[in-house]
Amino acid sequence: MEGNPNNEIPNTKMKNALLNYTLSLADNASVMSHRLGEWCGHGPVLEQDIALTNISLDDIGQARSLYQYAAEQLNNMPTTEKTNLFSDMMLNAKIAAGENLDEDDLAYLRDAWDYRSLLLVEQPNKDWAYTIARSFYYDAFMQLFYKGLQNSKDDRLKGIAEKSLKEVTYHLRWSSEWIIRLGDGTDESHQKIQTAINDLWMYTGEMFKMTDTDKAMAVAGIGVDLAGLHKDWLNNIKNIFTQATLQLPTDIWMQDGGKEGHHSEHLGYILADMQFLQRTYPGLDW
């Protein structure tokens, strides 16, 4: 298409960077969605069960748009450029056979080391406090991220960002209110949410750490300068923690690696759950 900035991406390296970037965003949404979906039928009250699954469905929607875009990028690549992109045999067989890929192939046929999601989103639900803390850190980041991505030179990412920003603004409102309720609630709820925000703190640094892909996309005006979001993110969460009478964690050491495929064991279990059916009955539809 004339005027589409995707066609202006000069070389294979940039194409791969855009693909990885798109996949990384898709994987975050997909894994987060799966974690929140695990609450379905187990919510503490019916109304919050519905709230969680609503948010989970928003995330699924974001993941689908992003996986569809990633699949299109792959389908437009010459076979030679995509033979060694993934480690999964089933996926590579499809690519080698010249088959067009779709969103499901990318969600269900990539193994953990090809997943580029944040370590934060794969952390287990544990209890209500951990679930809220994980959502809060992530939502506060994604709100700033999608705001930035609205200025992307890539029309597709820009469009997805505009739609998703409305969704994540609500997600953040929901998780912020829960942080305040639990923090400024009973002694027990205060202690539980403080423990959860402390324990998950070490996974927040990765959100702002720029991989080579992130840097290439930011320089090209396609992606967001993640490091530049940190100050606003910190101010925003500080503000909520103050209202919640919670202490901002002070640990400096941060765990990263998810964006480059180095995951904790948790992701393996999630993918086993998600991918079992497609791997056992390839192409099964319903």
Partner: protein, 100 residues
């Protein structure tokens, strides 16, 4: 569980009213539990507007709704049964008048 215990351990009940589009009335949509008004509106958003049913939400704690007594429905409503003259059906309308 006694009612007294229930009231301290469970969130209060709220009635939800949804306006389906600008210019229309808010209509009763259902009820839900929530700790306070802010949470009631969010829960209502998630429970009753997921399929684009609304553009505006009202919530009111159920205990503030006062209802007529079903036992009195005879005295309250039946006297209206034989007052058909209260319906404007006895006027001859000119043909020019539309939409009546």
């Amino acid at each position: 569980m006694t009612d007294e215990k229930k009231s301290t351990s469970e969130w209060p009940l709220w009635e939800v009213f949804i306006r389906s589009k600008a210019g229309l009335d808010h209509k009763h949509a259902g009820s839900l539990h929530a700790a306070d008004a802010a949470m009631a509106i969010e829960n209502a958003r998630d429970t009753y507007t997921r399929r684009m049913e609304g553009v505006s939400i009202w919530v009111v704690e159920s205990k503030y709704i006062h209802a007529s007594n079903p036992d009195e429905s005879g005295a309250l409503f039946e006297p209206a049964n034989d007052k058909i003259y209260r319906h404007p059906t006895f006027y001859d309308l000119p043909d020019e008048v539309k939409h009546m």
